[in-house]
Subunit: 344 residues, 4 copies
């Protein structure tokens, strides 16, 4: 892959050695199926340590499935889900939340830097109990969000307070949970249930796993029919340990935080370098492992003519995206900056 392509997304990265080792170890002998294996059983225990509270956990294979299943547990078919207009659930899941909920409406909100605000949320919630209107049910925020910025604890708390005051549930899409966590330098508990998050899509795939996501419930009364919904969605793996063991490696000895710190650091390095180039400007503050810039069309064309295509398809084409991953070395960042500098 060319240097530029390497920054197209964090989902092009390989899995980290700790994950591969755990997987190999889980494969050494036969083990019970459908979640009865030790790795799946241990996953809840490990997450309870990390989140410092009892949780109910369901491992699944994709972030789309994690989000759609979580939302389907929280939202009736005639319900409304409030989210940012750039939310992955709104723009990049081909209607998965609608499918899994049986037809819920996503109410998309604008908001600076990819984030909704408590105030804006308060303004769009209406119609509860009125049979003509789809019913307010759930709020979903993405942390780190789709434009690479991060909700502060105060922002999350304020949004959750509005949601809960209306009887709505709070979902967090944590596809890049670790990246946000190390940016805020807070505990997982602080960034989730202590701030009012009820259910979390806890992502591992982008940050060093092969395919490992988990739906984490902080309030047992919300779990509802999840096991049945998961099974009928084809998301209950017979060899569940294949996902759970990835998490075992991912969550052991701080691997996941190390991975996120490296990705974020490389994004910072890249962000500073890009901002210094003529004609390139940051589209959003760089607060996780994603860097969004505006770039002259002529530069994009010049790069393209060299076979170097940049990713300008995210965010409805409003910016060019570069993403660093757990395995991005400094040299690659510097190479990229050099290539861009040569074409500016």
């Amino acid at each position: 892959m060319s240097t530029i392509n390497t920054f197209a997304s964090d989902n092009i990265s390989s899995a980290c050695p700790e994950v591969m080792d755990a997987l190999a170890k889980a494969n050494e002998a036969n083990s019970p199926s459908y979640g009865e294996d030790p790795w799946t059983k241990n996953l809840a225990t490990r997450l309870e340590e990390i989140f410092e509270t009892p949780v109910t956990v369901f491992p699944v294979t994709t972030g789309t499935a994690a989000n759609a299943l979580a939302l389907s547990t929280l939202t009736p078919a005639f319900g409304k889900i409030f989210c940012h207009e750039l939310a992955h659930i709104n723009t990049d899941e081909c209607g998965a939340p609608e499918m899994f909920t049986g037809g819920a409406k996503l109410i998309d909100m604008s908001g600076a830097n990819g984030r909704i605000t408590a105030k804006a949320l308060e303004d769009v919630i209406y119609g509860a109990g009125n049979v003509h209107h789809a019913q307010p049910a759930t709020v979903s925020i993405t942390q780190a969000c789709e434009s690479g910025t991060v909700y502060s604890l105060e922002e999350i708390q304020a949004i959750a307070a509005v949601a809960h005051s209306h009887g709505l549930s709070m979902h967090m899409d944590g596809a890049r949970f670790a990246n946000a966590l190390v940016t805020l330098d807070v505990t997982p508990a602080q960034m989730t249930w202590q701030a009012g998050i009820d259910v979390l899509s806890f992502g591992g795939t982008k940050n060093g796993c092969l395919a490992a996501e988990a739906v984490v419930f902080f309030r047992p009364e919300l779990v509802g029919d999840f096991p049945f919904l998961q099974k009928r969605a084809g998301q209950l793996l017979s060899k569940s340990r294949f996902i759970s063991s990835q998490f075992a490696g991912y969550l052991k000895d701080g691997t996941w935080l190390r991975n996120a710190r490296q990705a974020n650091a490389m994004a910072q390095r890249l962000s500073k370098g890009l901002a210094a180039l003529p004609g390139i400007e940051l589209a959003y503050p760089t607060q996780s492992n994603e860097v969004f810039v505006s770039m002259p069309a002529v530069l994009i064309e010049r790069l393209s003519a060299q076979g170097l295509s940049v990713n300008d398809e995210e965010l409805d084409g409003k910016a060019v995206r570069f993403v660093a991953a757990w395995n991005t070395p400094e040299s690659q960042v510097d190479d990229l900056l050099k290539v861009l500098a040569d074409h500016c």
Copy 2:
């Protein structure tokens, strides 16, 4: 795991070394996401060699997802899917086909040894064009079927002929495709499109993979909106190579056929040993890697008292099931037979 538990299902087995090696190799470097990686691209090529015809292939993570997605492409929301009453899609997928199709009806048919017949199919198809009735759309057979027997080529051809004469599509649930194939000793082409199969759920998980299934279309005009249906079902992995590379190992140098032959041979050994025990009788002919027997209740209780629980939950509790896998050694079969003999 106890010896008996080891025979509970083939989905407790580890992945075979060839699969693990391919997976490790696919992880050596970054690679494009969402199916643009070389392993996913090569999968179609490899399957075209194996099936001796052009195919369209979509890798997914579970057999339930493969079946439900395949059926949803073939069947409108107001359609009927004809299958055996013991079919996995009917009894063991918690309504996944209904979810993915948006509400299609499974018409379950009885039939000796877990198999439907062309004659019985002809008798239950009615109502096409009549707005009051759900519309006949799809026939699904399982090969090897849920009671461990295998459709002959002639049986498949006859069923497909009835289906096609009514304009219905033919789906094959091949969760144990390899096991059936080596039993019949025919080519993959003969057992599928040459016999009238339109779409195949090609299973790898039970026969040596971690989690690898593929939906294989033999008629391009049936593919329809599959890519969108797959994405919105949360079944498009960002790191697709992690399914595809499993298939690379699985399908290389005959690994998949070797695995199936070993499993079948062990099932035969077990079947003969069980049939020789007093009070135990085969419930179905043993034609793949599953052995179903009827067993005196007192024997089941005696084993249970020793902590040895047999799997009598399959097939609605009509028989006790023992399943051999690719990694079942002769010694384990003999141990099991000894344990049972001791308790008879």
Copy 3:
């Protein structure tokens, strides 16, 4: 219409004068919409008198909608609905229950004379709590049933006892509720909630209304989200009084019972006459307003050659059906018998 066509179904009959009068009266002045009109408000009161218990009522326009909405309130998307294989919900609603429930499975049972039994029900309920299986949720019986026979109170009680012992809800499809009621000569309370029915589809259309059905809940805790489900199904009429006023006329001064008695009496007269004809035999006992007979194919052809087509499409073509309605006069029955006698 030819005499024979007049017996094709009770849904070809006009509305009775009492219904038309009530409708005209309800149209005399403007009135609030969406159920806030006096006719809709009075409907619950009137049904509470008739059923001698508090009820929650929702008027809708078709029997299919009444059934599907009722079932969708009782049954999760991954649920099972147990019914007779000839049940209207299973064979004549083009998958409406599946659509409204979001994919529930109808488990069809055989049973003599179109009725299921408590014993058979007990035998098919399994899998509760097991994530692999669609979950037992609801039992639906039709009274009078699709083959024209009637469940006795004891039969209903026994079936409901089995359903409730497993935590399932009891639904009654009462498209021909009045016809069954006058046959049994019991009270509406006895035939419903006192026998264990939880929710009733109360039909008016076939027995003298234009288009008037009502979903009647006997247990308020089951109503759930019905108002929202009704609205999103397009079944909340803005001018609700159009349905409710029909019921006002239908239920006033015993109109509905008079209508049903006339229809049943004419069916009895026809049944006796048919049974006396050579080559014609009753397929089921005549217990409501439907008469099912087996008839020589040659006779059917002979009639057809005269432009007199009989309805042999019901019950999967297993019998020829003649249906009497509230407005069937004796002379029409006698004419029909004469036509048939002439062709025998």
Copy 4:
């Protein structure tokens, strides 16, 4: 009803005599069911005269059902429907379009006076063929629209041109079709298929019927599976003539246009009167039978204290709505204006 309540909505109005007469006539004798009656058969003929082109017509009972069924024929489950943010399908159908389509996304657009523009539409269509995005499928406009204004022919043509250039279908929600038609003073053909409309929800209920709506297809290739979708939605009446005969009266001798003219004229009278009152301002131009005004909160409270509640719940509470109907007399308008003047 108080004078003010009489203006709450046009769906509180009675049916007009022509409709009631036709209904009574259709009830004089028995008639075939499920659309085989002469009234239903004649409906297509009559609409073909009116629209001057071949059409395919399906009568249903509610506007919500008409819209949701029409949209479900045009839009896949993973599709997008573009509409104004105030569109009835978006705000007042409790998720019916989402239910009937199996989960399509409504993309709501802003736009002055309740109308979208061709330019704005062009800007929001993206992602066709990209598996990550729900797929652009359908554009729906309301004529007259929810804020009481009317699209000009040129506006419709321009919007349809954009839609069709992207391969999208054009739906018109014509709940107040006649009101818009007489405002524009054009032919039904000009306002629909000649301007690029593919499918129309043709409303009768608000303009003099009891419950009569029709889905009208101008392009036969779009009808698709409509008959099955209608049946499984519980929208195929067994006694279909009771909708169709309403249309017979409604469409005979210009009844529908006379009704609409009266309603519009009364709205104009009211609009002028309101605009002359101190503190009251028109929120939108009055172009059909709805008048929207902004009104001081203190006036609303003063009226409420007198038991005179105004309808301020439409359009998300952005204005107070008064609606005239076919049977609104001048005296009632003048009474209302006097009441308001007294409280200003």
